[in-house]
């Protein structure tokens, strides 16, 4: 990476080389690019160009907002308020963008992004005290779920468990835990949907059998003993699942089949998930 900058500077060492590299150093091009590339390499985005475009755009906007902020001094209150709400919107959008940059399985990158998002949201405004308020926190969680293609009725029980009072200050640990839970939930719902699509062409008893196995496995992980996780995943092997589905089918062979709708399936699956989430006190 340093080679890139050096070679780019080196290419311009033809006629006005000294002024060129002087100009670049003075403008701070090296530092800006280095920061951007470090971020890109940490996140390893699928679309590096898009990532760089967004990164510089966010950076430019925050610089431009910062500049325009200083000119507001002495303006009317109304103007301040519109600026504040647009600032809040920018903060929200910025925080959300940071959170989506790395998948939660990329532990260190994800944790870094959560920290950045938290500090962005906690930044004190003109009239706001620093710190993340419950209202903004709950709103962000809703956005994460919505952006992860989870419908409102499905995410509502989860949000209810995770929410804070509007005026409460939200500590970082709670923020991280809640955001992670929402992302995992969004993935879970997505997987349930594709599971439903695989199983559903047959009748509802198979769907219920699958959900039953899932519930069984999840309930096994009651304590934090690692062996229990192995036990739980053993319950979900293809062989065991096939046995469960076969049992259900033979049991139901006499009775007329009842179809299960997608919403119902997703609702039951997400209920299994939400029941494992600890309520925030």
């Amino acid at each position: 990476m340093a080679n890139t900058l050096q070679s780019a500077a080196g290419d311009s060492r033809s006629t006005k080389s000294d002024t060129d590299s002087e100009f670049l150093t003075q403008a701070g091009a090296g530092a800006v690019l280095r920061g951007a590339l470090l971020k890109l390499l940490e996140v390893r985005s699928e679309d590096p160009i898009g990532f760089l475009a967004d990164h510089f755009e966010n950076l430019a906007q925050s610089l431009e907002n910062g500049d325009s902020g200083s000119a507001v001094e002495g303006d009317k209150k109304q103007h301040q308020q519109t600026l504040q709400s647009s600032e809040e919107q920018n903060q929200h959008a910025g925080a959300l963008w940071h959170l989506t940059q790395a998948h939660y399985s990329q532990r260190s990158a994800f944790n870094n992004n959560v920290a950045v998002a938290f500090s962005l949201l906690s930044r004190g405004g003109r009239k706001r005290k620093p710190g993340l308020k419950g209202r903004a926190y709950t709103e962000l969680l809703r956005r994460v779920c919505r952006d992860g293609a989870v419908a409102e009725p499905v995410s509502a029980p989860l949000i209810r468990k995770l929410r804070c009072q509007d005026h409460e200050a939200v500590p970082f640990d709670l923020f991280r835990h809640a955001v992670l839970t929402c992302f995992v939930f969004a993935d879970f719902v997505r997987k349930s949907r594709s599971l439903f699509e695989t199983v559903s062409p047959s009748d509802g008893s198979l769907c219920r059998a699958v959900l039953g196995s899932l519930r069984d496995a999840l309930e096994t992980t009651g304590c934090s003993d690692p062996a229990r996780y192995l036990e739980a995943s053993a319950k979900l092997t293809p062989g065991r699942l096939a046995q469960a589905m076969d049992r259900a089918q033979t049991l139901a062979s006499g009775t007329p089949s009842t179809l299960m709708g997608q919403e119902e399936f997703i609702e039951e699956a997400s209920a299994l998930f939400v029941s494992r989430v600890k309520r925030v006190s």
Binding site: S12, D20, L37, R44, P48, I49, G50, D67, S68
Partner: protein, 327 residues
């Protein structure tokens, strides 16, 4: 891009989408037009630059060496060409090679004539090179010729080798028995017209693709084309690639033939772009002018529409605050 990107070394990851190339180009552009860009700040410059790369506008009015440098640049250029000159297709005009080249030069002042001629050869099946061509015919042939230029050069060599009866040393032949069967010499001119044996040709192409570093059409599509005939000629093969919908989708610049001329939303963009071209000093006044030599002051290629609008807004003296919140 698959999840392998997480384990690649830094250089390889960055090279996947040619990030160092674009950074170098951004810095050169910055140095070339520093008076213009330092006014708005260096971060805004990078934001605009990478946004335009993402949107595919970055290749407009740039030199040919830049336009052909990466697959993304090539496909962006193809898309821009289609968007700009779609109207010609709509009117049903037929144009010559040199006329198409002039159009290309409006977007890229030093676009070489050889490339346009190669594209025309595909449409006209290497015959009657002063014939007129329709816009869709030319566009699809030009697309594959430009996007897969290096690949076709290699294929041409393989084809010639097969025609002259040389058995290419990299061909993968399952058994030595069939290798002996294959090396019967090509006899006469009729052989050249009949082309080469398709399965053999396919095998050679497959071997090439395995070790190939440039872009090439997906092997499955190539196999699909070649398994339909026993023998294939070079331009017959190329023409089939030009018409192949799967390959067109794989490149991703142009819509399918049915949608090529349909897009009412583009008309607005087109009008703006035409207005910009007629204002820009690099535009040609008549399409029949070829290779004009007068020195042109190159308008800054970074003045995208967005940029110009921004400058207009700033100069209107509007509030900086409202401007930033609109952005």
């Amino acid at each position: 891009m698959n999840s392998k990107r997480f384990t690649l070394p830094v250089d390889e990851y960055l090279a996947l989408e040619h990030v160092p190339f674009y950074i170098e180009d951004a810095l050169s552009q910055l140095l070339e037009h520093k008076e213009e860009y330092t006014q708005f700040g260096i971060v805004r410059f990078f934001a605009d630059y990478f946004n335009s790369v993402r949107n595919g506008n970055h290749i407009l009015f740039r030199e040919f060496s830049f336009v052909k440098a990466t697959p993304h640049n090539r496909s962006s250029f193809l898309r821009a060409f289609w968007r700009c000159f779609r109207q010609i297709g709509k009117n049903g005009d037929l144009l010559t090679v040199m006329e198409y080249r002039s159009l290309l030069q409006l977007l890229c002042p030093d676009f070489p004539v050889e490339l346009v001629q190669k594209a025309a050869r595909i449409v006209l099946m290497d015959d009657a090179m002063d014939c007129l061509m329709s816009f869709p015919d030319f566009l699809y042939a030009f697309q594959i010729q430009f996007y897969y230029e290096e690949f076709f050069e290699n294929i041409a060599v393989i084809y010639q080798d097969l025609l002259s009866g040389k058995s290419p040393n990299t061909v993968i032949v399952p058994t030595s028995f069939s290798a002996e069967q294959v090396t019967r010499p090509a006899t006469s001119n009729t052989a050249a017209q009949e082309g080469v044996d398709s399965p053999l040709f396919c095998g050679c192409i497959e071997a090439l693709c395995e070790r190939y570093k440039y872009s090439h059409p997906p092997l499955s599509s190539i196999k699909e084309i070649l398994c339909q005939v026993q023998r294939v000629s070079f331009y017959g093969f190329l023409m089939a690639i030009a018409k192949h919908e799967g390959i067109n989708c794989d490149i991703g610049s142009l819509p399918s033939k049915a949608d090529l001329l349909i897009d009412p939303e583009m008309d607005r963009e087109l009008e703006k772009l035409i207005a910009q071209i007629s204002v820009s000093p690099t535009s040609n006044s008549s399409s029949s002018t070829v290779g004009h030599k007068e020195p042109v002051r190159k308008a800054s290629p970074r003045k995208s529409l967005h940029y110009r609008r921004r400058i207009d807004i700033e100069s209107d003296g509007s509030n900086e605050e409202t401007d930033s919140s609109e952005n």
